[in-house]
């Protein structure tokens, strides 16, 4: 009876997770490539030219998935961090640490592509819109998390301190979002509104969703690769790492 239940805590140990992650990574790369090619094909060749925005709108196929992933990864990171604090598992902290750079890059990418989109559409690289501002602050939160972990030499302390910061951050993200939103409505200077976007064609929506899946799979593949590197780095003193074929060479 009891041996039918999968013991998930088995994979909480870096030693048993390392080979599993190694087996999963190629699959996520394959999925990322399939979704990426399909999504790009839809976004460049199938999706119609937008009536008001012309061809320039096609940047949203990169921009929107990047923005979604930057928010989603922060929540996933905070979840891993919370698990690490609650259950005192080492792998959780490593996962949070591995996710942070990917999330920061997604946040940066969403800001960068947003600027590219804003220049032809609004005539400005940057406006103090609520979404732009909160994406910028999210980027700062990622940088703070990475900087805090980098400043602490003891890996276990780095994990736990980072976990508290991530949890404080995840509580603050909605507060920051709404405060920036109200701040923006109070200062209604430029007449820019991205809420009144015209109804989106179904193919555009599909292109965006498939691109989001591609970004998602890419993020998992990269985070798993990074977590394997972190495991090797932190467990370098153990016997099982020294026995690995890739380490022995």
């Amino acid at each position: 009876m009891s041996n039918k239940i999968v013991n998930w805590f088995k994979y909480a140990s870096p030693q048993s997770f390392y080979p599993v992650a190694g087996k999963m990574i190629p699959w996520f790369w394959v999925l990322a490539a399939i979704f990426g090619v399909t999504g790009l094909w839809i976004s460049f060749f199938v999706a119609p030219t937008d009536a008001t925005q012309g061809e320039g709108y096609r940047i949203i196929f990169i921009h929107v998935p990047a923005a979604w992933m930057s928010m989603f990864i922060y929540v996933v990171m905070a979840t891993w961090a919370g698990l690490g604090l609650a259950l005192n598992t080492r792998l959780s902290g490593m996962m949070a640490q591995a996710l942070a750079p990917t999330g920061a890059i997604m946040a940066f990418l969403s800001l960068w592509t947003g600027a590219f989109w804003g220049k032809p559409m609004w005539g400005a690289w940057w406006v103090w819109d609520a979404r732009l501002t909160s994406a910028l602050i999210l980027f700062f939160l990622y940088i703070g998390f990475i900087a805090l972990q980098a400043a602490i030499d003891d890996a276990r302390r780095a994990d736990k301190a980072g976990a508290i910061l991530a949890l404080v951050g995840v509580v603050n993200v909605p507060i920051i979002y709404f405060s920036v939103k109200w701040w923006n409505t109070l200062h209604q200077g430029a007449s820019v509104s991205i809420n009144k976007a015209p109804a989106m064609a179904t193919t555009m929506l599909w292109g965006m969703l498939i691109m989001a899946l591609a970004f998602w799979m890419y993020s998992i593949a990269v985070a798993l690769t990074r977590v394997r590197a972190i495991i090797l780095e932190r467990e370098a003193h153990t016997e099982w790492v020294k026995e690995l074929s890739e380490v022995k060479q």
């Binding site: 940088i143 400043a151 302390r157 301190a161 404080v168 951050g169 603050n172 920051i176 920036v180 109200w182």
Partner: protein
């Protein structure tokens, strides 16, 4: 509760014995605020418009200056470890330390702000709102900052790191604090902003000492 007051009294006494540290943050606040008209120009209409934002940003930065000292001296001489070992809950003692930090850094800013507001030609009503918003907001700055101070305790380059961690979290306080004064000036009324600021203060007062305590236990492990 007596332990909390004992902590507050002790920290205030220590601050009084080393007045220069408190005064440095205060003069930093005054100097930063005075620099803006020099950089921007002396037109009263423009200064009146930017005054709330400048006073609030300067208050954020001045609070940041004192944060690095919040736990570091106690950490260095072992007092912090004694606090962890004491029978009084650590969260209460930390709340006392945060209160003392606010009295030494936040409260003087609240009292000074109207004087600096005169430099920016704010009328008396706006001055009143500015004082109330700072009175509600500066304790929140101390509470949120304490989390950052505990996380960066004893780290290399802790001061710069602290500002990187804490300043993004100060954004809502800044928006509602400066927004209250601006809303009053523009005639929409500051009530909403002040209520939100008070709500954030209640939230911070409940959660921040708790998160700070958790961070301190990790730092002392």
């Amino acid at each position: 509760m007596s332990a909390v007051f004992a902590i507050i009294r002790r920290d205030l006494l220590l601050a009084m014995r080393r007045k220069s540290e408190v005064l440095t943050a205060l003069f930093f606040f005054i100097i930063v605020v005075s620099l803006f008209p020099l950089g921007i120009g002396p037109e009263p209409a423009l200064l009146r418009k930017i005054a709330p934002g400048i006073l609030w940003v300067a208050a954020l930065l001045a609070t940041m200056l004192g944060l690095a000292r919040l736990f570091a001296p106690d950490h260095a001489d072992g007092t912090l470890e004694q606090m962890v070992l004491s029978p009084t809950p650590l969260g209460l003692l930390i709340a006392g330390k945060i209160a003392a930090h606010w009295i030494t850094t936040g409260l003087p800013l609240v009292l000074l702000a109207p004087v600096l507001g005169i430099q920016f030609d704010l009328d008396s009503g706006a001055q009143g709102i500015l004082v109330v918003s700072l009175l509600l907001g500066t304790p929140l700055l101390s509470l949120i900052g304490a989390i950052g101070a505990a996380l960066t305790l004893g780290l290399r380059g802790g001061g710069v790191l602290l500002s990187l961690l804490v300043l993004p979290l100060y954004v809502p306080t800044l928006i509602f604090g400066a927004g209250a004064v601006e809303a009053y000036i523009s005639g929409t009324g500051a009530g909403g902003h002040l209520s939100l600021l008070a709500a954030l203060l209640v939230l911070g007062g409940f959660f921040a000492p708790w998160a700070t305590t958790a961070a301190l236990r990790i730092a002392l492990e």
